[in-house]
């Protein structure tokens, strides 16, 4: 199933120029200075572009409201922390924060569990219904959500879930799981099946093989999908604005929208709240990204 086997066909004739070739897992010292500059230069430019608008949001959050949209473009104007004080003190921000954490954490945990089992089944077993199922997963992503909101609301209402956090968790899962299952299937595909077979010969059942052998090897993949599920739930607005009706049950992203009504939007509070929202997501990534580096070690060390 994997294409890696094909790499045996590497053209042996290609002659590298002596010292220039560096091992990918090699230390940084072997990179020539020119290459280093190019590499870091590119990454610095990319990072600047990435954080540029965020810096703008951060700077805006320190301005009084009237100075955010203005003819004279200034980076800093009458800096103040009043916006943060208002957001933290006068609104239900902390409650929304708690709600978002609950929704995002459950979406992440439940999403990973289901998509990992599903992805594994799709990757390893050629069961009847496998290909149609993968197609069905795709089709569920093809019908625009904007059009589905009203019928989904009716279903949620029939289940008695309107104005509850589980309604959001379930709705978020319908976005996250099909994608994560597909992703994980892709990652599982690149883990050699010989490992499963070895485990199976050792007497592991399919669940045990999955749990004890494959899952630990797929840590980087799990980290990616975990992060994806978390952020999907963290930033989701469409379902939240349809299903949630009480201020104390808002999620952060939806709560933030309350600051910017169509007329007389309070940009200063939106930006301050956005900064407060970005920080925890950044911290989650900081921890998740460690798993991105510690994937498969050489050879199939047994899990």
């Amino acid at each position: 199933m994997t294409q890696i086997a094909g790499t045996g066909t590497l053209p042996a004739a290609a002659v590298p120029r002596g010292a220039r070739h560096s091992r990918p897992r090699d230390s940084r010292s072997s990179r020539s200075p020119a290459k280093s500059i190019l590499l870091h230069g590119t990454l610095i430019v990319a990072s600047l572009i990435a954080i540029g608008p965020i810096v703008w949001v951060l700077l805006s959050s320190l301005k009084p409201g009237y100075a955010i949209q203005s003819s004279d473009l200034t980076l800093v104007k009458d800096p103040t922390l009043a916006n943060y004080r208002y957001v933290l003190g006068e609104t239900s921000f902390l409650r929304w924060f708690g709600n978002s954490v609950v929704v995002a954490a459950f979406t992440m945990a439940v999403g990973i569990f289901f998509s990992a089992t599903t992805g594994y089944a799709l990757s390893r077993f050629n069961f009847p219904g496998r290909r149609p199922l993968m197609m069905v997963f795709l089709v569920t992503q093809m019908f625009p959500v904007a059009i589905l909101i009203v019928p989904i609301y009716t279903i949620m209402a029939n289940l008695g879930l309107i104005n509850t956090l589980p309604s959001l968790i379930i709705a978020n899962l319908t976005i996250a799981v099909p994608f994560c299952a597909w992703m994980l299937k892709g990652y599982f595909d690149s883990i050699p099946t010989s490992l499963d077979e070895a485990a199976s010969i050792d007497g592991c059942g399919p669940f045990a093989t999955f749990w004890r052998v494959v899952l630990p090897l797929a840590r980087p993949a799990i980290a990616v999908t975990a992060f994806y599920s978390f952020l999907t739930a963290w930033g989701e607005v469409a379902y939240a604005s349809a299903f949630i009706q009480e201020d104390r049950k808002f999620t952060l992203a939806y709560g933030l929208q309350q600051f910017v009504p169509q007329f007389n939007p309070q940009w200063e509070y939106l930006t301050a709240a956005a900064v407060l929202v970005t920080v925890p997501a950044g911290i989650v990534f900081f921890f998740a990204q460690r798993h991105l580096v510690s994937g498969l070690t050489a050879g199939g060390t047994k899990g």
């Binding site: 009237y66 949209q69 904007a146 104005n163 604005s241 201020d247 009504p261 169509q262 007389n264």
Partner: protein, 433 residues
Amino acid sequence: MRRIAKGIVVLASTTLALTLAACGGEEKAADEKPKTDPASLKAELTWWDTSDPKNEGPAFQELIAKFNQTYPNVKINYQSVPFGEAQNKFKTAAQAKTGAPDILRAEVAWVPEFASLGHLYALDGSELLADESDFLSTPLSSNKFDGKTYGVPQVTDSLALMYNKELFTKAGIAEAPKTWAELKTTAQTIKQKTGVDGLFVNPAGYFMLPFLYGEGGDLVDTQAKKIVVNSEKNVAGLNVAKDLIASGAAAKPPANDSYGTMMTLFKEKKVAMIINGPWEVSNVKNAPAFGGLENLGVAPVPAGSARAGAPVGGHNYVIWSGMPQEKVDAAVAFVKFMSSAESQAFLAEKLGLLPTRKSAYDVASVKSNPTISAFKPVVEAAVERPWIPEAGQFFGPLDQMATEVLIQGKDPKASLDAVANKYKSEVVTGYGL
């Protein structure tokens, strides 16, 4: 889903919190004489308020507290819902028969729509309409659908010419222009003498209505069931607006966020005149560069060849038909309290909202309020809009038309014909062209 209905302008939110707010307002609801003991009324009601949560919300919550002094056992769950999403949110919930609020603050154009879908209680025969004649007739008319009345007006508003007095003085202009022609020369004089733009025209459907009304035009004729949006009168009106921009009298507007641009420029004194409503007064007042209310002039919109006219807007209180019958008494008591002359005077004083009751205008604090006095003639001359369930769909095509004509420079007649065709095929299919 955040629904941005640019056209259906939020007719909301004036926050004046005038400095003279210190006195008055303490007068108790004197003529509030419930037949039964108010304390015996027990219920829990949810109210979705679509007003500005920061500027206006607190005043409404104060009113609720006052209400609870008389009705201690009626609990009001106050929920602020952004205006932009309230319409679809209410309909979705009402249709699923779960989760809709008992009472909603609905924009004037929503009421016929909700009523036609059976989502509202008809209020005829209740205490709420006992003194119907006290309401201003134009705001009240937006609550009528198919011979019944489905809401009670909360606040009314309209569009006016708002101008910067300081820039007027600098340019040597004594009074606000009364016709579009005068507006043009005024704007050009200001540009010449002060260097800043004289006028900003927001290229959006709702803001085109004064130009269309000025020549005697309208969108549809509900009596004759006829689409009249592409009439010669409307073409003439649009040509007036187009000429204002083409001649340089008005600044060239951007296609996107033109409303925000208009307000920013006006607050920074970079444009002398705009056409906008009372809901922006507090915003202007709080702008540090503008110079406060003393610098803000308000006049009726200039007249065209036929008349001077601006669209009526505002908000109403409506009651969801899915609310159980046993809560009716409490809901009626609440709406009655909120729309009483005293409450309206309170809101006028606190927020500068324009009352919808004639008697509220007789209250001393309202009479002496300069902004309300300035807007009163504007509101009295406001033109009634077609109150049909489809009215909400009129503005999408109209916005598109405004961009085509004012920004892309297309021919008004051709653009209006396209709007008429769209109305015929998508909005009011039963009407004639």
